[in-house]
Every structure is written in C-alpha cells, then in structure tokens.
C-alpha cells in the first residue's frame, strides 16, 4: 500500500512539473510575465461599449457581462442547463424526504438568541446585496450568477441558525422555491426568443445587419442598460437563487432527521 502511494505521488509530481515547465519556459500560454493583451481580449474590450461600431456593441461597460450574455450567450445558456441538471439530481436523491408530510410539532428550535439576532440582520443584508448585484450587473462587478451565489448564503444561514421549522412557519417551502426557479427560467427563455419573434436572430441584443430589432441600450438618464443583458442578469439571479434555496431546504430536512426536531 505504501509503495502504491509513493508511485502515485511521484507520477503526479512528474506530470505537474512537466506542465509547469511547458507553461513557463516553453511559453505555451504566451510569454512569461506578459505585458501585452491577447488579440481576442483586446477585440472584446474594444467593441463592448463603442458608439462608433453600431453593429458590434453590447452597450455594457462591464466586459464579463457583455461576453457572458451577448457574445457567448449560448455557452452560458448550456452552462445554466448543467447547473439545473445537477440541482435536480441532488433533489432526486432525497425525494421521498422532501415530499413527505412534515411533522406538525409546536416547538421550534434554533441557536441562541444572540446568534439569531445577528443573523436576522445579516440575512436581510445578504438578500438586498444579492438583488443589487442582479440589478447593476452591467455597470459594476456582479451579475446573475454572482447574485444567485450570494443569495444562496441566506437560506444557508436560515437553515444553520433557525432550523427548518422556522422557515416553514415563514412560508418558505420547497414548492414555492421551485415555482420561483421555473417561472424565472421561463422568463429567461422568453427574453432569448423575443428577437426571433420580432423577426431577428436568436440571442440578439442590439441591432444587427438584417434585423433592426434592439433591446433598450440606455436607461432614461443615459445609464448603460446593456439591452437584454439587464433582463437576463435579473432573471438568472432569481432562477439560481430558487434552485439553491430548494437544495438548502433539502439540506435542512436531512439535518432535522435525527436531531430531535
């Protein structure tokens, strides 16, 4: 057994040092300590909010949102599908507990009073910050995926500090979270399909040659809105938040199985 571990360690070391040597000395990923930008990144940065190039602009000052939802939108759509597939798989493992009738007990347990009071503030702050990420994803760092990941901290804290019985009393059930996820996913698909109905291309944001349809690029006071990027960020936020809320409600169910709740 010890010989096997030694062989494994040595072979991993050889592969990784070869990878480092190729990356740095042979320069596979570009010159060491690069100062110049790659051509592809330069083009993305040049076109993302350029009024001079009307057919290529995305009207979004943030590079990541522009690439994520405009230039490489279909990639992101398929990655979203992977995410929801994984969450559905996690639900399927424990489906019988999730759909079993919850025991109706009058007593609800949680951590001590100090922790509950602090967590109440933090949960609301987390939700507000997550929604703010979704709304301002096109001008500051943030966006749909980041807002969803930040939103997922709120149900984690709810399950950790107040247990699941309190969440059920608040009206937070897995059916409502699933409804939130499914409805916002449908809205996301609607935003994607809308240019196709209006006679343009699928996943179209601003006007392209051959189709004059374009989402609103600017807000009233000329704040950049990013066209469809704003709507896609917002709907993605609530869809991801609903998916993770289902997962952590399920985690609370599992945690309360033998804890004497």
């Amino acid at each position: 057994m010890r010989v096997t571990g030694l062989i494994a360690a040595i072979s991993i070391l050889i592969v990784l040092f070869a990878l480092a040597y190729g990356l740095v000395v042979l320069g596979i990923s570009g010159p060491p300590a690069p100062v110049k930008l790659r051509l592809l990144g330069e083009k993305y940065l040049y076109y993302m909010i350029n009024p001079a190039t009307k057919y290529f602009t995305a009207e979004s000052p943030e590079g990541v949102s522009a690439i994520l939802w405009d230039y490489r939108g279909l990639d992101t759509l398929y990655e979203t599908m992977v995410l929801f597939g994984a969450i559905i798989g996690a639900i399927l493992v424990y489906r019988e507990y999730l759909y079993s009738e919850p025991r109706k007990t009058g007593k609800i347990y949680g951590l001590s009073h100090i922790v509950r009071t602090v967590s109440k503030i933090i949960i609301w702050l987390t939700i507000i910050i997550a929604v703010a990420f979704g709304f301002t994803g096109q001008i500051t760092p943030g966006g749909g995926f980041i807002g969803g990941a930040a939103f997922a901290v709120a149900p984690v804290l709810l399950v950790l500090v107040y247990t699941l019985g309190y969440a059920r009393r608040l009206g937070l059930t897995h059916r409502r979270a699933l409804l939130l996820r499914a409805s916002f996913l449908l809205l996301l698909l609607l935003v994607i399909v809308t240019p196709l109905i209006a006679g343009g291309y699928i996943f179209q944001n601003q006007a392209k040659p051959g189709s004059a349809f374009s989402f609103p690029g600017r807000f009233i006071d000329s704040t950049p809105l990013g066209g469809s990027i704003f709507f896609l960020n917002l709907f993605e936020l609530f869809a991801v938040a609903g998916a993770f809320t289902v997962a952590f409600i399920l985690l609370g169910v599992i945690a309360s199985l033998k804890e004497g709740e």
Partner: protein
C-alpha cells in the same frame, strides 16, 4: 537569462502546480469520501487561479475590465485597453464557480446517502463490505 520577473513567474507557477498535485493526491489516495470532495473543491479553485493568471498583465497602472466612462470615444477606449486585464478568462470562471457549487451539493447528498446504506464513508471498508456481500450470495 531570466530576469526577476521571470524567476518569480516560474516560482508562482510551480506553487500552483504543487497545489494541484496535492489536491489530486488527496483525491486519489485519501480514503474518506468527504476528504475527496474537499480536495475536489481545492482542485477546482486552483484551476480558477490558473485561469486568472492567464488573463493577467504584469504592469503597474493596471485596472479591471470595467469601463467607468459611459460615453466613450476612440481615445478613451484606447487608453482603457492599454490598462485593462483580459476579460475572457474570468468569464469562463464565473459559471464554473456556480456550477462547481451545484455539483458539490450533489456529491455531498450522494455521500450522505452512501453513509445511510453502508454505515461508513471509508472507500476501503465499503469495498470490503461489498466483497463480503458478494461472497455471501454465492
């Protein structure tokens, strides 16, 4: 002849590859499944660092890829490109972070289910129990 920048660059890449190697070692050799899941998250995080390194530029007046001027002309765009880092690697990383989270949730649920079935999370003990079960049937 390597300058000081290249020496530091080589050292940083070696450390990153050593982190990846440790994560792969834990993923293969440690018996507990929760330890394997934690090592998998470390491996994914190290790959995010690699992607961020590929997009970085080693110069001092360097800025993130977000334009603060909302009505740009050609000169401001050129100035912005001269300072900004590459926006493509973080784009590929963003979705990877969230998808990695969902896959970790799936793996943790499967691990808890495995404990309910076998009563242990040690893969060697699980293999022994499976061998005994198969021997008992025959």
């Amino acid at each position: 002849m390597m300058g000081i920048g290249e020496v530091f660059w080589l050292y940083i890449w070696l450390i990153i590859m050593a982190n990846m190697g440790l994560a792969i070692y834990g993923l293969i050799m440690r018996p507990n499944i929760l330890k394997k899941i934690a090592c998998l998250t470390v491996l994914a995080d190290t790959s995010f660092i690699v992607l961020a390194f590929i997009g970085y530029r080693f110069k001092y007046p360097v800025s993130p890829y977000i334009m603060t001027n909302w009505a740009p002309n050609n000169a401001t765009i050129t100035h912005f490109i001269s300072e900004s880092v590459d926006p493509l690697p973080p784009t590929l990383t963003i979705t990877a972070v969230v998808i990695n989270l969902s896959i970790t949730i799936l793996l943790v649920f499967l691990a808890i289910r495995l404990y309910e079935v076998y009563g242990t999370l040690d893969v060697k003990k699980i293999a022994m129990i499976k061998k005994e079960l198969r021997g008992g049937e025959k």
